[in-house]
Symmetry: C2
Subunit: 232 residues, 2 copies
């Protein structure tokens, strides 16, 4: 069975966490909205019962699964992409990644998620300063300690799990959005950054990274580079 | 085996979603921080490897499980509190509840989560207005349709699941924080409000509701009533 992934076609966004797992796992899937467009996705969503609250969602036979961490937990079980005895721990890490992703998004949309960044720049400046100095070090320190616990190169030991792939994407997004702050925090999270390099070098992802299936970050997505929101 | 629940002792907060499930399920547990205090919790957290990112967390034998939705998924499986064939759907609803809880929290802490509300009142006023008019109706409409899909009195049919209990707590919190707005939205979510009443009437929760184990909402928690942030 081939899975169907539905996500906004123009941005990596939250869909990329799912895409990376499908690609690294060698799991057949169709990236539906990139084939059929965003309007087709809106029509598809509207006829689901209940419709997903938001993309991404995965169609697996008759099942429709939304929420990134839920999709990855499902794929982890179905495809053996996380050790069963550590499934709650891997999911816990993934949910903590989701929390940080939401906070990173809110640095440019702190008060009105459906309006433009340009309509909330003063609030964004304040939110981003707090994020850089308080929240980001707290999260990175926690991921660093979670990785240090494993005893192997990956979160759960000798083999990557889906959460390792998500940690890679998280670091990539944070480096794109906050290059100065991530540089100044690098000394505090060497294990996390080594993990990022490990995923970048995975043989099973090289074709994907070289393809146009891998989308670049832009100022339309979750991780946006606004220089005025960064700082060492 | 008795579970240990650890959460800030003075507020219902996120811990209450777990507590309701333990209470309604008749599951033995010790509410550790209410017995031993917040300092004991800080010490306990610090010696876990890795420590939870934040309370609540559940200790189940040698397992330490954090993140509310992760704890409830675990309890749902262990204790049969969600139909196995609908486990991903129930979890998806729980994760969407978690998203709304985070947004409700951010109405009073939009730019600096570790600082006082009084230090971010203008930003909070703008965030709360957006929440009342844009986000809250979107979420409530989605829960309403998710419930309408079931064909029974509960999210998954004839029996309550842990997510039904969480929807009750969500409505209670929103009514406490935004009484005017929840009154004006009542006509749009009759099924959700009927579900709230169904949980309030559950025989298995009456002793709990009458006990001092059930904590009231206050302006120290996630759901806070600041009249200036409400409006019809």
């Amino acid at each position: 069975m081939s899975y169907e992934l539905w996500y906004w076609p123009g941005i990596p966004g939250r869909g990329e966490f799912v895409r990376l797992t499908l690609e690294a796992g060698g799991i057949p899937y169709i990236d539906k909205a990139r084939v059929e467009g965003a309007e087709a996705m809106m029509r598809d969503m509207a006829q689901r019962r209940p419709e997903p609250f938001a993309p991404p969602y995965l169609v697996a036979g008759t099942a429709v699964i939304a929420q990134v961490a839920n999709i990855l937990f499902f794929l982890g079980c179905e495809q053996g992409l996380a050790p069963a005895e550590q499934a709650p721990f891997v999911h816990q890490v993934q949910l903590t990644i989701a929390d940080l992703v939401a906070e990173a998004h809110d640095t440019h949309h702190p008060v009105a998620p459906m309006r433009y960044y340009e309509e909330q720049k003063p609030e964004a400046a304040r939110k981003a300063a707090d994020f850089r100095h308080s929240r980001l070090p707290k999260y990175l320190g926690w991921f660093e300690r979670a990785l240090a616990r494993s005893g192997g190169d990956w979160l759960t030991g000798e083999t990557w799990s889906y959460a390792d792939l998500s940690l890679f994407q998280l670091v990539e997004g944070l480096r794109y959005a906050f290059p100065q702050r991530m540089a100044s925090l690098a000394r505090d999270c060497p294990t996390l950054l080594a993990l990022r390099d490990g995923v970048a070098d995975l043989p099973e992802l090289q074709d994907y990274f070289a393809s146009d299936r891998r989308l670049p970050f832009t100022e339309e997505g979750i991780f946006r580079h606004y220089p005025e929101l960064d700082g060492a």
